[in-house]
């Protein structure tokens, strides 16, 4: 079988169009920038009837040209994807093959966007996101990886081969190489080539997306719980509590992150049980947070509050204990063990490698969140509505969680998006130094680390995860930018 080219037979028509369009687009952008420096922007003319209209001129013309050329470019790219979905690798080459594999992701994305745009007026801040182009692009990038990760990791849809299976003769092969003697029902190509152990780069890429999509948001959420639970009282009460907590936060922040990772994420440290202790401490914060949140709200109605707290905390405590205990014990070293939840009622076991990565990422992120929340609390506690609540006789925790926190949500949501991106970068850093996850794990950092040794000769194995990580983090940053813009508008 012939090796695939990037765009296949379709490329013979579409490639020249794409090249010409992108060249003209670049020229138009440059012209627009030069004109925006040279002229003072569009001139505004007052019409006799009192309305305003812009007089256009060279700058306006170049702006219109850029907009249309950009739309044309987008149309060509969509053309590749659409033809690829129907024609597959035979008509549209590697791009076509990938886009055919990703068909469920495209459908999910289209459904999400159509529904969201249709009902955007009823969806609050999320709906407003669809008013900003930057936000929409970011959201599309993020949701692409979320859907792709879930579909590849849970449903096993997108991947073409097993992420660990090695096929002889496929070592370091370039993208589009056909499998030698592919059997019936087996996918006939390595779409993005093979890595140095003859595994399929494309399948590993999407399996790796699932690792990232799983860990990064959850770790960020835990870091936020810790940061909020400690930051609110530090900002609200101030005084000695604030001094001590701020000192501790600054202490962790003064550590170079990589040194901390090297100290925490080694098999020797895992053997001492320190990550388990840290997990025990860090994972309790969501429980405290939710308990205080509900109690401060409903403590005036004990008949409602008590059953509510019992049910909610019971479920959470069960999850918490399942989370921290593995094989019937919380900490288990050579010399001693602390018993935990017995195996019979243990809901799930977490791989110790994942646990230590998770704990150290939460540990690194929490102090920054603490500082942000503390700053916001310091600012908001001087507002009138806080004084009103104090006069009403509300308790301090009610004020912190039900008056201050809801009013700090804007900056916190924006920072949450940015921080997921930062957590993704940290996870990649861990993988890049070969810490934590096993060496055959398909996550992006580990794959980049494995691919970088042969970078000068076979770069494709490292470039694919690098570009994926870049697009995901870029998407999160753009999403945060769009959210910030839209939340500032009201």
């Amino acid at each position: 079988m012939e090796p695939l080219t990037w765009t296949g037979p379709l490329g013979q028509f579409l490639d020249p169009v794409l090249y010409v369009l992108s060249a003209v687009f670049l020229v138009a952008v440059v012209v627009q920038i030069v004109l925006s420096l040279a002229t003072g922007g569009a001139r505004v003319i007052t019409n006799p009837d009192g309305t305003l209209s812009s007089a256009g001129g060279a700058y306006d013309l170049s702006a219109i040209a850029t907009r249309w050329l950009g739309a044309g470019l987008l149309l060509v790219v969509l053309g590749y994807i659409a033809v690829g979905v129907f024609g597959g690798p035979d008509t549209a080459g590697i791009i076509g093959g990938m886009s055919q594999q990703l068909l469920p992701v495209w459908i999910a994305l289209i459904v999400t966007f159509v529904l969201s745009i249709k009902f955007k007026r009823k969806l609050g801040l999320y709906g407003k996101l669809f008013d900003s182009t930057v936000g929409m692009i970011g959201f599309a990038l993020v949701m692409f990886w979320v859907y792709a990760g879930v579909m590849a990791g849970v449903l096993d849809w997108i991947t073409t081969h097993e992420s660990l299976s090695q096929v002889s003769g496929m070592k370091n092969k370039v993208p589009g190489t056909p499998l030698r003697g592919a059997e019936e029902g087996e996918y006939a190509w390595y779409l993005l080539g093979g890595d140095n152990l003859a595994r399929d780069v494309f399948s590993r890429l999407f399996k790796g997306a699932w690792v990232v999509v799983q860990i990064a948001p959850l770790a960020t959420l835990f870091a936020f719980m810790v940061g909020i639970t400690l930051g609110l009282p530090a900002g609200y009460y101030g005084g000695r509590l604030d001094t001590i907590l701020s000192f501790l936060a600054n202490l962790i922040l003064a550590f170079p992150v990589i040194l901390l990772f090297y100290l925490l994420v080694t098999p020797e440290i895992v053997a001492t049980g320190i990550p388990n202790y840290m997990a025990t401490v860090l994972f309790i914060f969501p429980l405290i947070f939710i308990a205080v949140l509900l109690n401060s709200r409903y403590y005036t109605q004990p008949s409602f509050r008590t059953p509510l707290l019992i049910v909610v905390l019971g479920v959470l405590a069960w999850i918490y204990l399942s989370l921290i205990s593995t094989g019937g014990s919380i900490v288990s070293t050579d010399t001693y063990r602390i018993p935990g939840l017995p195996n019979a009622v243990d809901l799930f076991n977490i791989d110790p490698g994942i646990l230590v990565v998770f704990v150290s990422v939460v540990f690194v992120n929490a102090p920054t969140v603490f500082r942000i929340v503390r700053g916001l609390a310091l600012d908001i506690k001087t507002r009138d509505y806080v004084a009103a609540a104090q006069t009403r006789g509300e308790g301090p925790w009610y004020i912190m969680l039900w008056e201050i926190l809801p009013n700090a949500r804007g900056p916190l949501i924006v920072d949450f998006c940015l921080r997921i991106g930062y957590t993704t970068i940290l996870l990649g850093t861990l993988g890049f130094f070969g810490l934590g996850l096993e060496s055959e794990s398909p996550d992006w950092g580990t794959t980049i680390n494995a691919g970088r040794r042969l970078l000068a000769v076979y770069p494709h194995a490292a470039i694919a995860p690098a570009v994926s990580l870049l697009t995901l983090v870029l998407g999160l940053n753009l999403l945060a930018d769009g959210l910030r813009e839209e939340s500032l508008k009201d």
Partner: protein, 348 residues
């Protein structure tokens, strides 16, 4: 002002002590010591042999005592073997009695001995730090002017085409960690796959002989990641200044746009970025570790990876002291500098 600096120095000292103790504690956990004994002695040592190897070298004692020894406030360990030879932390084997020092720690200027490199820690750290200083110097030289330029150009006309393209560029750079941009740069500019062999993918030779060919990629890789953040802060500060009353007054007076930007706005707009640049330096340290590993440039970051990977306790402690001091000093400078630069908040 003097009191302020003194208090900050006190907090710095306390932070450095706490941090080195944490590093000390983590590196001195028994599984780590066991690994150390096995790499230094013999991989097939029995558990008893490991214990006696560690005991002879004073590793089994209380962590606080050991930390005191490293600091130089507790007497060093002395072991007398059954055959009468005396070994100690602070003297050579069988040195005469009067030449045996009691204390040897950081306070005495003795940073210890690296077991992996078989060399004095202080000289090792000093040479590697010099190499990294060179890298950082070039990075700052590229990063600071570029990011200020991007930020000022983007911020002087908010919402224009230039602003939008430059803002997108800076968001893209903040979303590209060093190990991603480094990999892409090497693949595009230094590999045979793309055929553009403009630069070298390794900077090993750049320590002695830095040329445009072998030093460009590492410098650009670090500079790019730090740039986006500084540029965005500069842009924010510039847009704020450009909407100020005195700029409007200057405009109404008929001052040309170029003069407004260069003479009126720029000076006030550059106060905030100064703080950001100083606070960005500790972050560069992270990038330095990644880039030195990726490009095989044997500097301070490379040393950190080697020390941490091999649990070389004394080297690791010295490395963490240096990095913590860098972090704290840059924070101090940024605070003091902010006070000096901003006429609105001068401490009396």
């Amino acid at each position: 002002m003097g009191l302020f600096i003194l208090r900050r120095l006190g907090v710095m000292l306390l932070t450095a002590l706490c941090l080195t103790f944490i590093v000390f504690f983590l590196t001195n956990l028994y599984p780590n010591l066991e690994k150390l004994a096995k790499t230094q002695g013999n991989f097939r040592m029995s558990d008893e042999a490991v214990a006696s190897w560690l005991d002879d070298r004073g590793y089994i004692d209380n962590t606080f005592v050991k930390y005191g020894r490293w600091l130089g406030v507790a007497p060093g360990w002395v072991t007398e073997k059954d055959d009468g030879t005396v070994t100690g932390q602070c003297f050579e084997e069988n040195a005469p009695m009067e030449e045996r020092a009691t204390f040897c720690g950081v306070l005495q200027g003795d940073w210890g001995f690296s077991l992996v490199f078989k060399d004095d820690v202080s000289s090792l750290v000093a040479t590697r730090l010099g190499a990294t200083g060179k890298l950082m110097g070039f990075v700052l030289l590229v990063m600071v002017p570029m990011s200020l330029l991007v930020g000022v150009l983007a911020g002087m006309r908010e919402g224009s085409g230039l602003d939008r393209s430059l803002s997108t560029f800076s968001i893209a750079t903040t979303a590209t960690p060093e190990y991603v941009s480094g990999v892409i740069f090497i693949a595009v500019f230094a590999s045979s796959a793309f055929g553009l062999k403009w630069f070298k993918g390794s900077a090993t030779q750049a320590i002695e002989n830095a040329t445009f060919e072998n030093f460009t990629l590492p410098v650009i890789t670090i500079a790019l990641y730090g740039m986006g953040y500084i540029a965005r802060m500069t842009r924010a500060s510039m847009t704020e200044v450009m909407t100020a009353q005195y700029i409007r007054t200057a405009r109404l007076k008929g001052v040309s746009f170029g003069n407004i930007v260069l003479k009126h706005a720029l000076r006030n707009a550059l106060i905030a970025p100064f703080t950001v640049i100083m606070l960005q330096i500790p972050w560069l340290l992270n990038g330095v570790v990644i880039v030195e590993t990726l490009f095989n440039y044997k500097g301070f970051g490379w040393l950190l990876v080697q020390a941490a990977g091999n649990n070389d306790i004394e080297l690791l402690l010295a490395v963490s002291v240096v990095s913590v001091v860098v972090v704290l000093i840059t924070q101090l400078i940024s605070d003091i500098g902010y006070i000096f630069l901003n006429p609105r908040i001068r401490i009396s």
